[in-house]
Every structure is written in structure tokens, then in C-alpha cells.
Amino acid sequence: MASSDVSVDVRPEFNSFDHLRSIRYIATDRPWLTLYGIRVQPVTPFSSLSSRPDLALIHQCLPDELLFEIFARMSPYSLGRAACVCRKWKYTVRNPTLWRNACLKTWQRTGMEANYQMVQSLYDSSWRKMWMLRPRIQFDGISSRRILS
């Protein structure tokens, strides 16, 4: 970084401070000064593309972990629909814990250990993928596969 020596001219009223005349200051470039006054907008991954504020109460009032707690009490089918509501919900619904709980509840007769082995060997350790692809019996007796977001 280039630096230049600058001698300081002291005003006459400060004659009592004669020693200041001889002091030489080093003036360095300070590029960060150009950043002052510029407001950088933070990038939020789930926010809307438009500049309108988010009016949703659930987003204004509740932190993300509470949104997760609500989703944890919803059925997988409702979760699939919730994923279509907005970006924030889509990313929250992708939390593997939600799908692990859904899988372990749906196939609890298989046993926890067997389910863990199955998800690792057949479904690339993805509980969501397991829920999507593994056949299951519905209440109407039809074996179904449901595609979720």
C-alpha cells in the first residue's frame, strides 16, 4: 500500500505548541471509508422475491424452530401440501427428522433397527426418499406410493 509523508501546518493560535510543527504524520490509504453510507441488503434464502413485507403472522411471530414443532405434529400428507405453500415451508419440511418420524411410525412393525438398515441400504440414507418410494398400505387397502415435494 502506497503511503506519503505529509507535514502539518499549525495555525498561529497554536504557537505555544511549537513541537507540533515538526511532527510528520503518515497518511495511509483507507479504502473502507468508501463503504460508509452504503447499506448492504442481507441475502435471505427463504424471503420473497418481491420487496413487499411478509404479512404472515406465523412468520412474524414465530421463530423457525417453532414452525418445525408445528410440522412435527402434522401427518406426512399434510406436510407434502405444506411444502407447496411457500419457500420457507418447503425448506423446513425437508428436515429429515420429520420424515424419519413418519417412516418409523408407518412401519413400526418392521422394527427400528430394520428400518434404519433399510433406509441406509435401499434409500441412500434419505428418510424422505423412503417415505416416497416404499409401498405402504392405506386405510382403503390399496398399496400406494405418494410423491412428495
Binding site: I58, E69, S78, A83, K90, S149
Partner: protein, 190 residues
Amino acid sequence: MEADKSGEGEKAGGKTISFRCSDGQAFHMPVAAAMLSTAIRKMFDKYPSIDHGGVIELPHQISSGIFPKVKEYCTKHAKVDDKGNPTVSTNTGAAAAASSSSTDDEEEDLKNWDKEFVNMEVKPLHDLLLVAHLLDIKGLFHITCRKVADMLKGKTSEEMRQILNIRNDFTEEEDKAIKEQNPWVFPDPE
């Protein structure tokens, strides 16, 4: 009215704790009821002077409009044994099986009361959920979360948006792709 309630608390739970909301309004709650909040219990253990006329300042998120509901819930659910120690009612199957039929009826009444208690508009429900989270009142937190989940149960994405006033922030391409991935043509089997 408030004084009467706090008086009842004095008789039932022995002592009361004072709370002050951010707008300056004060509330009194029996100690046994306040102990349902893990946060308050920890504070009580750390600062025993609260027991002697101290006032707990509540965070700004807890308004004086919603705190009476919290007090109502805690007072209803608090039970005190002979020694005056608070015992939190646990609605587990094992506890219900071991208890007498009268206790079973009490549990059932309490569950019905809980259902009625959270039967409210979206805004106060959100406030209540946040307060339950901040004060760490597990029972209240569970029933409020459950209520919001039930409100969304069996609803389409558009209906969910309408209920909670959420704007669809997907682009047209994303929206189209999501709809192709999610052909929700079947009714919810649950």
C-alpha cells in the same frame, strides 16, 4: 378481580409470584402454577428472593393481553400436594391406568378443557405459542402446536395460505414444477 384471584392463589398454593409485562401491567400467580414454567422454576431456584415480594419482569414479546391466558392455563393445571410442593399433571397412559376412576374423569375433563382453551383466533394462538416457548411451559406448548397443526390438517396448500395469511413466493416456474411433483388428487387418508 385480580386481587381476588391472587387471594385464592395464596390459599391454594401458599404463596404468589408477581409478574410485570413490558407495558407495566402487573399480574400475580400462585407459586405452584408458575412452577409449570421451566424457565420460571430455574429463575426461582437461582434467585430465591423472588419468593419475598420480588417481581419478575417479562420479556417484551409477552403482552398483558396474552399473559392472563397463560395464567389461566397454569392455574388450571397446577396441583399441590400436602407438603405444598407442585406436582405437574402428566397425561400419560400409565399414570391414568394406575389412578382411580375419579382421576380418569379429571384427566378427561382437563383434556376437554384444553381443547376449549386453545379454541381461539390465529393471532392470540400464535402469541400463546410464543409465550409457551419462551417460558418453556411444555403442556401449553404442546396443545398450541397441536391446535395449529389441526387447523392445517386436510387443507390444500391454498387453504393453508388463506388461514395463515401467507403469500405464495414461488416463481411461476417453481410453482409449476412443485405442482407436477405433488399431484395431490387423493384425499388425505389420515
